[in-house]
Symmetry: C2
Subunit: 233 residues, 2 copies
């Protein structure tokens, strides 16, 4: 029977985001906590993620754990094989190349679409992200620097107001952050390209798409080179 309930529902993404933690579905909570554990190094790359073990650790049953693992598989942090289980991804130089080439394509599209619709609020958000990065740099908190760096890039992508673009980009964000953690734990001095970030904000303020594209492409290329080098050795 056709009911009236099929009508357009509210935007699910806006519902899921800022909500008290105990109201979130367990599957999302599992994904969130497991993500933190992986990015924090608790589960090293290649580790097996056993459903029953995670279920008892998080105090739920295996159902929500399956949901959470599926979500993290979507973001690329976890890889699942039929009947064999789930594992934390292991990153090679080829993976770094894939992530950065794709991020470049996506973020260049993002600035192109973002600048024409940017407001002062957009600029403010970018500046805040840079400030947060400076603060974390000052206290030598490498994980926080990486997170702030990604927040900066996320702000650019969000400014494009392009749902599918953001979704694709999010499929690379966690993997990028994992790379950053791995790099900064060995070579903490290689973090940040503060100059690039400021230049990019200036290009946004001037609504100069060409310059923003050039700066961002250069910025990502520098990062990519550093990363590829690290993961090749």
């Amino acid at each position: 029977m056709v009911t009236l309930r099929g009508m357009a529902a509210a935007d699910p993404t806006s519902v899921a985001d800022n909500r008290p933690l105990d109201r979130i579905e367990l599957g999302d909570a599992v994904a969130s906590r497991l993500r933190t554990l992986i990015l924090g190094g608790e589960f090293a790359p290649g580790s097996r993620l056993v459903e029953t073990e995670l279920a008892s650790r998080f105090g739920t049953s295996r159902g929500p754990v399956r949901d959470g693992l599926a979500e993290l598989e979507r973001t690329g942090l976890v890889r699942s094989v039929n009947r064999r289980g789930s594992f934390v991804i292991e990153l090679t130089a080829a993976d770094v190349d894939e992530v950065y080439s794709l991020r470049t394509a996506l973020e260049l599209l993002a600035v192109t679409r973002a600048i024409p619709v940017a407001t002062t609020a957009t600029i403010d958000r970018l500046s805040e992200a840079v400030n947060a990065m400076d603060v974390s740099l000052a206290v030598n908190d490498a994980p926080a620097v990486g997170a702030a760096d990604m927040a900066f890039h996320r702000a650019i992508v969000e400014a494009a107001q392009h749902r599918r673009l953001l979704q694709s980009w999010e499929g690379l964000a966690d993997q990028t952050e994992l790379m950053m953690q791995e790099l900064s734990s060995v070579r903490p001095e290689l973090q940040s390209n503060h100059g690039h970030h400021s230049e990019l904000i200036a290009a946004f303020a001037a609504r100069d798409v060409d310059r923003a594209v050039a700066v961002l492409a250069d910025h990502l290329d520098v990062s990519r080179t550093t990363m590829v080098e690290h993961f090749s050795s």
Copy 2:
């Protein structure tokens, strides 16, 4: 009632999707068959997808149905809201714009990376897809034309040998095919740009990246314009 498991066991060779159902998990089977139903118009855009109804239709429990719905949510064909259920997406002109702008960015990256590593096998696969499209055009099988068109573009993306690029692109393929079905059911004469496809193959054969990028960008822009126009009215 024909169950997925039962059907696979009874007659593994001739299933509706010509895929070996007995070797894949039920969740994937549900996703595959539900995708065909949606793209075939059985479930119209906006339709509610009730887990219990799908479970009885496919002869499984709700577990695999949930897995299948999650998979189709990943490809963008289905949208789920916490505690409210899953729905077939509804496409607006804004969605068309998003899909095509993102597809353009992804497929331009694809040709750029594919041409340097292309072999004669790559060219063959592209030609086969064009031939399949011609055959379907000759017999006025609109859904098959759309499927063959997407197979052509998929061949380009696969040729880039870039896992994450393919994954991102697949998040748009089903949505594009849904658009094509909706368009061709109303304006069947608007399908195909055969000239563009041949030109693109020529550019591949000549290893001319610049020309391939130009042709593909033009091709996608023409398609986008047609689509946006249709979905605006």
